[in-house]
């Protein structure tokens, strides 16, 4: 089966610096792929490149094929169609990713309406409301009545992230990109969001590109991972293998650090 997202020899550069060097990876439909990197590794830029959202100052080389469409150099109109239909993104900070001046219900209704139109259906008020209600149910948001009229600052960080996930699902994407979606959350909330993402992509057979610096979280969510550092691929392989028997020194370093905290928690630190 052809890859859903195929990144071939991607290089990104600004006028002064090369940010990504010759990066290649592919994600099959329904596959859960993890991109592991620390700050400055270029992992978020890679995600932006995949959706054609790179800042103008960054020049891209190589090929990115998303659901059969070439992304690099594509006109904005075609990319806008691709976003939503093929791919949706959840970002790290749901407070800035949501419009602070719009009630949550209306924010979710936006992508719902676009998808209904895309599917050739009339986005009547009742149809949209029903879809929004169903989405809130899917992301397990309590008290949907109150949340529909609430503004982003009136709900908790975890609830905001659930709303952001609902907006992404509203598009019925084939690929969900999650860029550090739990980093800004409490540990207990993070566990809930990770469980939610895992359940949703499995239920709806959505491919997942999960970007994080948190090894255990990536390990829980993905089947295959790529470790990147300073814009270069360090190691790629099945998640279980890379995280238990890392071959490269850098990955070994990361795994050792993660294990050190694990051990401390088991009282063997």
């Amino acid at each position: 089966m052809a890859a859903l997202l195929d990144v071939r020899n991607l290089s990104l550069a600004t006028a002064g610096a090369r940010l990504i060097h010759d990066l290649s990876f592919a994600i099959a439909p329904g596959e859960r792929f993890g991109l592991i990197g620390e700050s400055g590794s270029g992992k978020s830029l890679t995600a932006l490149a995949a959706t054609g959202l790179l800042p103008r100052a960054i020049a891209a080389e190589g090929r990115i094929t998303l659901a059969g469409t070439e992304v690099i150099g594509a006109p904005e109109r075609r990319l806008a169609g691709l976003r939503g239909a093929a791919v949706a993104t959840v970002f790290q900070e749901p407070l800035t990713a949501l419009n602070p001046l719009m009630p949550l219900g209306r924010q979710i209704a936006g992508p719902v309406r676009r998808r209904l139109r895309r599917e050739g259906r009339t986005p009547t008020r009742a149809a949209v409301a029903e879809e929004v209600r169903a989405l809130l149910d899917q992301v397990r948001l309590p008290e949907p009545e109150r949340l529909l009229d609430a503004y982003p600052h009136e709900v908790s960080g975890g609830q905001r992230q659930r709303v952001a996930i609902a907006m992404a699902l509203a598009c019925r994407p084939q690929l969900l990109i999650a860029d550090e979606p739990t980093t800004a959350l409490d540990v207990t909330t993070q566990a809930e969001i990770v469980a939610l993402i895992r359940a949703l992509v499995a239920e709806q057979n959505i491919a997942l590109l999960f970007i994080s610096h948190d090894l255990p979280v990536v390990g829980q969510l993905t089947e295959r991972v790529m470790v990147i550092r300073h814009g270069r691929a360090v190691e790629t392989g099945p998640a279980a293998e890379v995280l238990s028997r890392p071959r490269e020194a850098y990955t070994q370093d990361l795994v050792a650090a993660a294990r050190r905290f694990d051990k401390a928690l088991e009282g063997r630190g």
């Binding site: 620390e38 540990v187 566990a191 370093d253 990361l254 650090a257 401390a264 928690l265 009282g267």
Partner: protein, 247 residues
């Protein structure tokens, strides 16, 4: 011997719901205590009280046997000399307009600590594992981990008795985080430390005792090893179960 004694402390912002209620604990001299809590637990407010940046409405805080009086300037000068802090965000805690030398020696100048400040800066910057030429550069020239080392250098340069750390490694990458934790471990042998964090793993690696805060209350306190082995409170159990582990 008790260095810090928090007695029935309560605090609320304005007329709002209390952020802290009936908080009591003691920190023996030389101890290394983790204060665990998630957002809304009141841990940041508790830290502000300990730093004398806010005054508890109920209860009191005793430092070395005497009550902490934030409004008494003379007393606070002595208190600042003995209590220093490291903050969460290494990108916000260093003044971008100042050279590192000036940042590191600020407590020495402000607190009028006698001695050769130049030499003290050089020594402390080596103690935190940075090169001597660090002192002549500006914060933006350093990575998050290096900046946090600089912030630690500033906190220990005046040789305080008590070091308060506010999520001091949470903003760092994993591989950097472990090294800064190691640096704290090294420092903890000379100073009493209260390490505030939401990260149970970090506290487990660093602190011999821990206090778990939930919505303004202490739900559990004791030896780190004992709590990890057999958490008594359901909140602590949930917290421990939520931490992602390597397979």
């Amino acid at each position: 011997m008790t260095l810090l004694d928090v007695e029935n402390v309560g605090f609320a912002y304005g007329a709002g719901r209390p952020v802290l209620e009936d908080i009591s604990f003691t920190v023996p001299r030389g101890a290394n205590i983790g204060l665990i809590g998630e957002s809304g637990s009141g841990k940041s407010t508790l830290l502000r009280l300990l730093l004398g940046l806010a005054v508890p409405q109920k209860g009191r805080i005793l430092f070395d046997g005497a009550p902490l009086v934030p409004r008494d300037r003379g007393y606070m000068r002595g208190y600042r000399r003995r209590v220093q802090a490291v903050f969460q965000d290494p990108y916000s805690s260093l003044n971008p307009a100042h050279r590192i030398r000036r940042i590191v020696t600020e407590p020495l100048r402000s607190l009028k600590v006698p001695g050769d400040h130049r030499r003290m800066a050089e020594k402390v910057i080596a103690d935190v594992g940075l090169e001597p030429d660090t002192l002549d550069r500006y914060p933006h020239q350093f990575s998050g981990g290096q900046r946090q080392r600089i912030a630690i250098a500033r906190a220990i340069v005046a040789r305080p008795d008590l070091l308060l750390a506010d999520e001091a490694v949470s903003a760092l990458d994993l591989s950097t985080r472990i090294r800064i934790v190691e640096l704290f471990e090294k420092i903890a042998s000379d100073v009493t430390m209260v390490f505030v964090s939401h990260d149970m793993g970090v506290v487990a690696a660093l602190c011999d005792r821990m206090i778990v805060l939930d919505r303004g209350h202490i739900v559990e306190a004791g030896e780190t090893a004992a709590i990890l082995r057999a958490p008594q409170h359901s909140y602590t159990r949930n917290l421990l179960a939520s931490i992602p582990r390597m397979a």
